[in-house]
C-alpha cells in the first residue's frame, strides 16, 4: 500500500545542521494520523468492493441459470456450506492445510535463501545454475505428483516435497535477483572501511537482502497455496485440497466452491500478515512516492 503521508520524509534542502531530528521515531501529529486512518479505510473499502461486485454478479448469474446447467450454486448456498462445515470438521481441514503450507514452504524458503545468495554473489555460479533454476521453476508442481509418489511414497513427506519444490525455486529467483541488484557503492563503501569479502556478505548483502527475502516469502506462500491441491492429490485424507477432490468425486459442487474460497481466503490472510510483518521489519526502506 503506498504510504503517501509518510513519504514526505524524503530529502529536504538544508542549511546547516538543524536542531532536531525530523520525525525520527516520533509519533505523527494527530491530523496526519487521522488522514492515515482514512486512507487505510478507503483502501480496505475499495478492496472489499471488488469482492462485493463479484458476489453480486455471481448471485445474478446463478439465479438466471445462464451458465453451468444448473450446477452453479448461489453464493448464499456456498456460504452456508462453509458456515455449517466449519463447525463440522472443515475447520480442521483449514488448519491442516495451513500447517502444511506454512511448514513446507518455510522449509523450501530456508533451503532456497543460501542458494539464492550463492547465485547472486558469485557470477560464475549464477552463469552455471541460472538456466537450470529457470528450467525447474517452469515445471508445474502437479506434473511431479507421479514421480513424487514413486520415489517418496504417499506420506506427509511426499506432499511436503511438492510444496517445498514450489517455494524453493520461486525464492531462489527472487533472492538472487535481490542480491545481484545490490548497488556497487555499498559494497565499495564497506570495503574501503575495511570489510573482508565475508564481512561484506554478512554486513551489507544480508541486510540489504532482507526485504527481498520477505518478498520471496510472500510470493512463495502464495505459490504454496496455489500448489496445495496438487500436493494433496498425493493420497491426502484431510486438508482443503482433499476436500475439493472428494466433493468433486461426489459432484458436491457447493462444497468444491467452499474449498476453493477457503484456500483463497487463507492465502489472502497470510499475505496480509506477512505484509504487515515486513513493513514492521524493514522500516529503513525509502519507498518514495510510488
Amino acid at each position: 500500500m503506498p504510504d503517501v503521508v509518510f513519504a514526505s520524509g524524503r530529502q529536504r534542502p538544508d542549511t546547516g545542521p538543524p536542531a532536531a531530528p525530523a520525525g525520527a521515531g516520533a509519533a505523527p501529529p494527530p491530523r496526519r494520523a487521522a488522514r492515515r486512518v482514512l486512507h487505510r479505510l478507503r483502501g480496505a473499502l475499495l478492496g472489499l468492493s471488488g469482492f462485493c461486485g463479484l458476489i453480486l454478479v455471481w448471485q445474478l448469474t446463478a439465479m438466471a441459470e445462464i451458465v453451468g446447467n444448473g450446477l452453479l450454486p448461489t453464493p448464499f448456498e456456498v456460504f452456508e456450506v462453509i458456515w455449517t462445515g466449519l463447525g463440522n470438521g472443515l475447520a480442521t481441514d483449514v488448519l491442516i492445510s495451513s500447517r502444511r503450507v506454512v511448514l513446507w514452504v518455510s522449509v523450501g524458503i530456508a533451503a532456497a535463501v543460501p542458494v539464492g545468495f550463492l547465485l547472486g554473489w558469485f557470477p560464475t555460479v549464477r552463469a552455471a545454475l541460472n538456466p537450470l533454476v529457470n528450467f525447474f521453476r517452469a515445471l508445474p508442481p502437479i506434473a511431479l505428483v507421479p514421480l513424487v509418489i514413486v520415489y517418496f511414497g504417499i506420506g506427509e513427506l511426499a506432499r511436503g516435497i511438492i510444496l517445498m519444490y514450489a517455494a524453493f525455486f520461486a525464492t531462489v529467483v527472487i533472492v538472487f535477483e535481490g542480491v545481484a541488484g545490490i548497488e556497487d557503492k555499498y559494497v565499495r563503501a564497506a570495503q574501503t572501511l575495511g570489510a573482508t569479502r565475508l564481512e561484506v556478505l554478512a554486513r551489507v548483502v544480508l541486510p540489504f537482502s532482507v526485504p527481498h527475502i520477505l518478498t520471496a516469502a510472500r510470493v512463495s506462500l502464495g505459490i504454496g497455496w496455489a500448489s496445495l491441491v496438487a500436493a494433496e492429490l498425493v493420497a491426502a485424507q484431510d486438508g482443503l485440497g482433499a476436500v475439493i477432490q472428494n466433493a468433486g468425486n461426489f459432484l458436491d459442487i457447493p462444497r468444491v466452491y467452499a474449498g476453493i474460497i477457503l484456500i483463497g481466503f487463507c492465502a489472502l490472510v497470510m499475505d496480509a500478515v506477512l505484509r504487515l510483518l515486513s513493513a514492521r521489519l524493514v522500516t529503513w526502506q525509502d519507498r518514495g512516492n510510488r
Binding site: P21, A189, Q191, T192, L193, R203, T283
Partner: protein, 268 residues
C-alpha cells in the same frame, strides 16, 4: 588543538590507465605522478570526465592501474582497505543502519575493531564534530543530502584511516549546503590533521580547502601543474572574494582551459 591520529604519505608514481582495447581504447590516466605528504590536504582539479574518479579509484584499490604504482607509506596498494577510506560523491551510507551504526560500521569490522565503549566514545565524538548528535538514532531516509554526507565523513574519520580520499563529496549538494560542508570539513581538519586527497571539478572548492592544488589536463589526465595555496590557519568564506584568491582561481582556470583544447576550442 590537534589530536593524534593515523596519518601517512601517498605517492603516485607514473600511474596510467586505459579502458577498452583496440581502436575503441581510451587512455584516461597518463603518467600521473605526485606526492601527498603526510598531513597535507591535496586537491585535484580537472574538468568533468577527465578521469578524476578513475584516479581516486586506483588509489582506493578498486581499479588496478595498467602502469605505475601507488604507494602508501612506501607500501604498494593492492586492493581496497581501511588505510585509504573513501567518501563518495553518491550517498553511500547504509540505509538500513542508523546514523550512529553507520559511523560505527568500520569499528565493528575485524580490520579496525574496537571495544564497545571506545566505539561509542569515538562515534559520539564524530557525531558531535559533524553536528549529528540529534540525529544519532535517525535512519538515512529521513536525512537531507548534506546530512548524509556528514554521516559519510564521520564514518570515514571514525576508522582512523592513514589517508582520506574524497571524490567530489559535495558536488550533488546545493550551493549553500556545499559552503557549510566545506567549512565543516575545514573545521574537522583543523582539529585533526589528516592526509587528504580531495578530487573536484570546482577550482574554487579546491583552493578553498587545500594546501596544494594538482591541476590536471583534460583526457587523458596528466598533471599540468602543482600549485601551492598560500593561506595557512583557519579559513572562512570571505577568503573566496579576496583579490588574491580570485587571482589564483583565474590562473588555475586558465590552465584548465588551455590544458587540452578540443577541436571546438573548448575544454570538455
Amino acid at each position: 588543538m590537534t589530536t593524534a591520529v593515523n596519518t601517512g604519505g601517498l605517492t603516485l608514481d607514473g600511474v596510467g590507465k586505459r579502458f577498452g582495447r583496440g581502436t575503441a581504447a581510451v587512455t584516461v590516466l597518463d603518467d600521473v605522478a605526485f606526492d601527498v605528504p603526510e598531513g597535507e590536504f591535496v586537491a585535484v582539479v580537472g574538468p568533468s570526465g577527465s578521469g578524476k574518479t578513475t584516479l581516486l579509484n586506483t588509489v582506493a584499490g578498486f581499479v588496478d592501474p595498467d602502469v605505475g604504482q601507488i604507494l602508501v607509506n612506501g607500501t604498494p596498494v593492492t586492493g581496497p582497505g581501511p588505510s585509504r577510506c573513501v567518501v563518495f560523491q553518491e550517498y553511500a551510507i547504509f540505509p538500513w543502519l542508523t546514523v550512529r551504526r553507520n559511523i560505527e560500521f568500520g569499528m565493528r569490522l575485524r580490520a579496525r575493531r574496537r571495544p564497545a565503549a571506545e566505539r561509542r566514545r569515538i562515534a559520539d565524538r564524530y557525531l558531535d564534530l559533524m553536528g549529528l548528535t540529534a540525529f544519532a538514532d535517525a535512519l538515512p531516509k529521513t536525512l537531507s543530502g548534506g546530512m548524509r554526507q556528514r554521516v559519510a565523513l564521520a564514518r570515514a574519520y571514525a576508522v582512523d584511516p592513514e589517508i582520506l580520499l574524497m571524490d567530489e563529496p559535495f558536488a550533488a549538494l546545493d550551493a549553500q549546503t556545499r559552503e557549510t560542508m566545506q567549512e565543516a570539513l575545514l573545521e574537522i581538519n583543523q582539529k585533526e590533521r589528516r592526509t587528504v586527497l580531495f578530487v573536484t571539478h570546482q577550482v574554487e572548492e579546491a583552493i578553498f580547502l587545500a594546501d596544494r592544488v594538482v591541476v590536471m589536463s583534460a583526457r587523458p589526465a596528466r598533471v599540468q601543474e602543482i600549485v601551492p595555496v598560500p593561506w595557512r590557519g583557519p579559513r572562512h568564506h570571505e577568503l573566496k572574494t579576496t583579490p588574491e584568491f580570485i587571482e589564483l582561481r583565474r590562473r588555475i582556470e586558465a590552465m584548465l582551459r588551455g590544458g587540452h583544447p578540443t577541436p571546438e576550442g573548448q575544454t570538455a
